[in-house]
Amino acid sequence: MKRRDFLKSVSGIAAGAMVPAPAIWSAAKADARSETLLIVSESGPNNLDIHGIGTNVPGYEVSWNCYDRLISHEMKAGPGGVPYYDRDKFKPELAEDMNVGDMSATFKLKKKATFHDGTPITAKDVKWSLDRAVSVGGFPTFQMAAGSLTKPEQFVVVDDHTVRVDFIKKDRLTIPDLAVIVPCVVNSELVKKNATEKDPWGLDYTKQQTAGSGAYKVTKWTAGTEVVMERNDDWVGGPLPKIKRVIWRMVPQAGNRRALLERGDADVSYDLPNKDFVELKESGKLNIVSTPYSNGIQYIGMNVTIPPFDNPKVRQAVAYALPYQKIMDAVLFGLSKPMFGAAADKPTEVAWPQPHKFNTDIAKAKALLAEAGFPNGFETTISFDLGFAGVNEPLCILVQESLAQVGIKVTINKIPGANWRTELNKKVLPLYTNVFSGWLDYPEYFFIWCYHGKNSIFNTMNYQSKQMDAFIDGAVTAAANGDTAAYDKDVKGFVDLAFADIPRIPLYQPYVNVAMQKNVSGYQYWFHRRLDYRAMVKA
């Protein structure tokens, strides 16, 4: 209101450039302000449906809030007391009851549940939606497969309100995979009406509008500019959310996002540079919440098929020559969880991520290099994704400086965001920095993608080790069979091997930073790291 008052008093001055506020500032608008959450972020969705082709990460946030899944996660107190999703505890969302058997799980649907257009939700809708997720290809199908959900035959309609999911094999990740964003329930009749022969799953229709049963529905979407979501007052998935309307505006300039927050015009923003977050935290005007990425690590990777990185001694030397603490202080301003420098006698835990025992030790690095036959170092290139230049660029410069001390001459190679994944996929970069994080928070999940010999895109190091594969496969089987002793042994085994062979050097666990006005509360940390409006409150 300050701006308006001021404007009233100076109307006419300021060279006629500033416009006076409307004479009557309608009370309805003030009310709307207090029931509306205004979010500003750098980029917005390109598709409102997570099953769409190439839906981007902001699109996931829309899906999460506008669609329901059969089940979701309970909350627990996370690091720093932040509400944090509980990996091991599920709660029903569209289902009122879940019954997990040996080779299948049965879900009973809430009887009162309806889609946004009032159609009752039946088991047929659930089956159609899950069929769609495993059939459309691309990311959704890939994510479903991560939980061994691959074939439409796995989803069986028992009666109008009962669905059974059959397992093709025992997999601990199947149930958690039903609680991620992808297996959302879509209004099948509505979408089928708008499907075409070329587009049997109606992806073009759901790209533009939400056809779900979630707590919010998109009422206006101007791509690249704003998304407006209204509350669905008939939502049965949980307690009725407090926020009536969410307006999400795209503000590309980080400086402007910060200004909007500091002036009190925006309620929430979460992609600001670390430096801004630290300064905002110190100023104390806003609520700043920082939570480490679950199952996520920024690392320095080395391609083990490209000499001299095929020599484990060279990789260890690099691990001793990295400026860990400097990166924490000068690049991240402390807003990250260190993944280095564990005490030498600390036993390996059955957990991931966990810190390794390397520390900056130039003398040791030099000795290891000499042992490996490179007493005078060598030349190489370090690559990074320009899309995240804010962190990556200073990080690589520090690494370059530090490696120069042991004689390794590093040239920096900046790769544009659009090209980054293509380059990673080729597996020809000798040295690079990158982030990996998995939605499902299980150590073996991380290792399957990043270290297993089946060489997924995330095994960016091209790392192959029979021993490693044995540990990972062992852990997966042990988890499926509930054999805790074998599981613990295998997890410790692969963690130890990953640190001894050190094809990738973990640096830190990045933080998700969210800045909110003091009157906004109810932020929850989710594995997808996007906002859940359903729990948020504006006083």
Partner: protein
């Protein structure tokens, strides 16, 4: 006149065909693989190939080109992958936003720069001449995004006079019914003064940013051209005949000095459309500049091609308009096709 316009437009066709071919090839030559980009962070090779097939990028280049031109002939610019919308719709929705901003910026700039240039020319070496020199040099030396950020910092963050830099309207206003796409005009048509005020106050800072940037060429050109005209014989004659200084300057000198100024204006207008890109970023303005840049960053071919093509058409039309204006201002200029 009509034959001249017709001939001019005919000549534009080969250049437009050239633009179509060159943009198509250039976007294909860009580094980056749209399929890998849009397959998402967690995609494996199979997923990337599936996306590639869906986007039609697995076909030979020549086939892609023919499909593109056939679509183009039907008025279909293709679909943007980043925003998920048809490019033609996006450009139609975004062009008025950019045009409104650029035109207002240009008007502000003209209103300041032309009197400043005329005054500087009539009093060379005086304080006003120095003021003209300093402001224009400063304006053109500062990059637009910097001027924009400084203005936001002062007028929004520090003083709170200006509304939040959140695009064309305050969050709680809705756009007036679209007639021209220019919010100021549409709001007046709808007789919605509140929306007009909101749209206008959102426009001021970005338009001012553009104006500051474009002061220099207009003011300097006005000054130089006025100086040349003021020292010419007919002005001396007019003065000797005892005409009032205002009459001499406005009626005789200024009209004759206009021609180079108009040429400069057309150039300024075209580079303002370019400068727009950065201003749109700073002010979260939903124009075509920011649209094209985002598309470029993510190797999104269709919008880049659509943007370049739209720009080419606009340049052709702009040049035509300027040529016609010449004839209106100076009867000596004869237009040949």
């Amino acid at each position: 006149m009509l034959t001249m316009i017709g001939k001019r437009l005919m000549f534009a066709i080969p250049s437009l065909i050239g633009v179509v071919i060159v943009t198509f090839l250039l976007t294909r030559a860009l580094p980056g693989d749209p399929a890998a980009y849009f397959a998402g962070p967690a995609a494996d090779k199979v997923a990337v190939e599936q996306i590639r097939k869906k986007l039609g990028l697995d076909r030979p280049l020549i086939e892609q080109f023919f499909r593109y031109t056939i679509d183009l002939a039907h008025g279909d610019f293709g679909n943007s992958l980043t925003t998920g919308q048809p490019v033609a719709t996006e450009i139609r929705n975004r062009l008025p936003a950019s045009a409104e901003l650029t035109l207002l910026g240009l008007v502000i700039s003209i209103v300041i720069a032309i009197p400043l240039g005329v005054l500087a020319a009539t009093r060379p070496g005086s304080w006003i001449d120095h003021l003209c020199r300093i402001t224009t040099t400063a304006g053109v030396s500062l990059p637009v995004f910097f001027t924009g950020l400084v203005l936001v910092y002062i007028f929004y963050f520090k003083l709170g006079w200006s509304p939040a830099p959140l695009g064309r309207l305050d969050v709680f206003y809705s756009a007036p019914p679209a007639v021209t796409g220019f919010y100021l005009i549409d709001a007046l048509i709808a007789r919605d003064l509140e929306t007009f005020r909101s749209a206008f106050s959102q426009l001021i800072l970005p338009a001012l940013t553009l104006a500051i940037f474009s002061l220099a060429p207009i003011a300097r050109m006005t000054r130089a051209s006025m100086l040349a005209v003021l020292s010419s014989d007919f002005v001396r004659t007019a003065r000797a005949s005892g005409l009032s200084p205002t009459k001499v300057i406005v009626t005789y000198a200024f009209r004759n000095a206009m021609l180079p100024v108009i040429t400069t204006l057309s150039m300024v207008f075209s580079f303002l459309l370019g400068a727009n890109v950065l201003v749109e970023k700073v002010f979260a303005w939903p124009g075509i500049g920011s649209y094209a840049v985002e598309a470029l960053i993510s190797s999104d071919f269709a919008p880049v091609q659509g943007f370049v093509l739209t720009m080419a058409v606009m340049y052709v039309l702009l040049n035509l308009t300027i040529d016609i204006l010449y004839g209106v201002i100076d009867p000596r200029v004869r237009l040949e096709g």
